[in-house]
């Protein structure tokens, strides 16, 4: 039961990772780049090149591992 739940939630983590990446790049960074100025560009670079890849990549890989039942053996 618990392992099935862990697997199903894998899809949630993948979708969450993709949503976070979309939000950071399209809703935040692009607007900050448009505004211009160093105060906006530095956070935009950090969101686009550090936070978004980390969240999207990390969450998606975590989700895939969960779907593959990689976390079943830890109990």
């Amino acid at each position: 039961m618990m392992n099935a739940l862990r697997q199903i939630f894998g899809i949630v983590w993948i979708l969450l990772g993709l949503a976070a990446g979309y939000f950071l790049v399209f809703e935040q960074s692009l607007k900050l780049f448009e505004k211009g100025g160093m105060d906006n560009i530095v956070p935009a670079i950090i969101y686009t090149f550090i936070l978004a890849p980390l969240l999207t990549g990390g969450m998606c890989v975590f989700g895939v591992y969960a779907l593959q039942n990689e976390y079943k053996s830890i109990d």
Binding site: L5, F9, P43, I46, I50, L51, L54, V61, I74
Partner: protein
Amino acid sequence: MNSKLSSEQVDKKKLRKVIAASSVGTLIEWYDFYIFGSLSVVIATKFFPSDNPTAAFLSTLATFAAGFVVRPFGALFFGRLGDLIGRKYTFMVTLLIMGFSTFTIGLIPGYETIGFLAPLLVLILRLLQGLALGGEYGGAATYVAEHSEPGKRGYRTAWIQTTASLGLFISLLVILATKKSMSAEAFANFGWRIPFLISIVMVGISYFIRKNMDESPMFEKAKQEGKIVANPLKESFGKKLNFKFVLLALFGATMGQGVVWYTGQFYALSFLQKVANIEFEQSNYIIAASLAGGTGFFIFFGWLSDKIGRKAVMLTGMLLAICTYRPIYQAMYEAADVSLKTEVAGSKVINTDYAMIPNSVDLKKTVKTELSYTDGSKLTLEQSSLTTMFPGRNPKKPEIKRIVHVGSSSFWFLILLVFIQVLYVTMVYGPIAAFLVEMFPTAIRYTSMSLPYHIGNGIFGGLLPAVATYLAAKASTANEVAVAAGQAIPYDKPYLEGLWYPIIIGGVCFVIGLLYVNGKDKEIND
């Protein structure tokens, strides 16, 4: 040496020395890291003049890069070294780098003296600070855990966990004491350098204590048995067997711990000063008193995690935090809200000053209004406006500064509210060193535990002030637009909107932790 360390085998006196040497060094590193942040306003005026775009850019880089980018790189670089050449030598190097950087920042002449070189040097030294911090924590936590006996690892490593809050506490005390000991002018001229310069003494003492310590017994054993891996980075992050636990540590523990840590200490201070408008000294005393009262609980919850498990303690803290942040911050707001207090009749005092602005034809008018309340609170409203003598030029918009000095009962109530948040911090942070250490084998422990810790704290936690301030400002702007358009305001309490960041990140982390993290303690002998 037998790797199974039983309670009888562990030399208690030696263990106490191990904990003391590791904790004092880590405490000093946190102190060094925080004084830069606490003195950022003074540093900005000395090194990063806002009218110079290049200096302003370097300032932004120093703020973001040291906390977010460089710390995880330090974790990778020094973590790898620690798994290859040993824990002890690596965290000696990080201590020396941190000490050198901090001391040197205190010596650099200002922008007015050496120009562009000043902000550039400060940026380089700040990055070195971030690198050193990235390598220090994992080394100290691993070193203490690998010396500890089974069943007491949470309690022993909890001493390392006190150092971050104590470092912040001591940095606030040193800055307040330095400020008190001299005039405001003297502090602005040279006094701000003192907290940086005295760091070298503390680092020197810690270096000599650490120098005489032995290498971790588990690392020595792994070395003798030829179990040291040639490429800890590849082993940690290139193999699914280990990498899945790195991801679990990040998303199921350190991500939530990072936001709870930053909310309970840094966001609380920022909220007191910028939203509740409580004066600088009083808000720092509130944080310092809460930290002083809460620090012992790191040890308690570390000890408790040995008894009932790391997962139960950490997730309880996280759940309590995400459920109670909004009512706590609402209560903080109301404690400083003078519109809810009774004004003392006839207490209103108004003073008006006029001053010519040097080298200009502008006149500055300051109207200072002071109001007293029955609970002992005081409100000072400073309205400054510039009037230009040039005909045809519009006068500038007046600036209004609100400063609240809360009365005794509100002061203690605010300490209680921040103390509750510090308690949450101690619950999630107290057991985490033991939790991370137990996730990975000796050969890659330093590397594997350092990275999720610094991403969780540096990136998810470090971004909290910027994201939370942005969310609150966005809500306030939406309200202003609605009022201007004659519509109903969309946000009832815009000042609480920033809390959605720690609540959502903490909530996701709680669910992942609940579903995937193992509730049982693990043996760390490979």
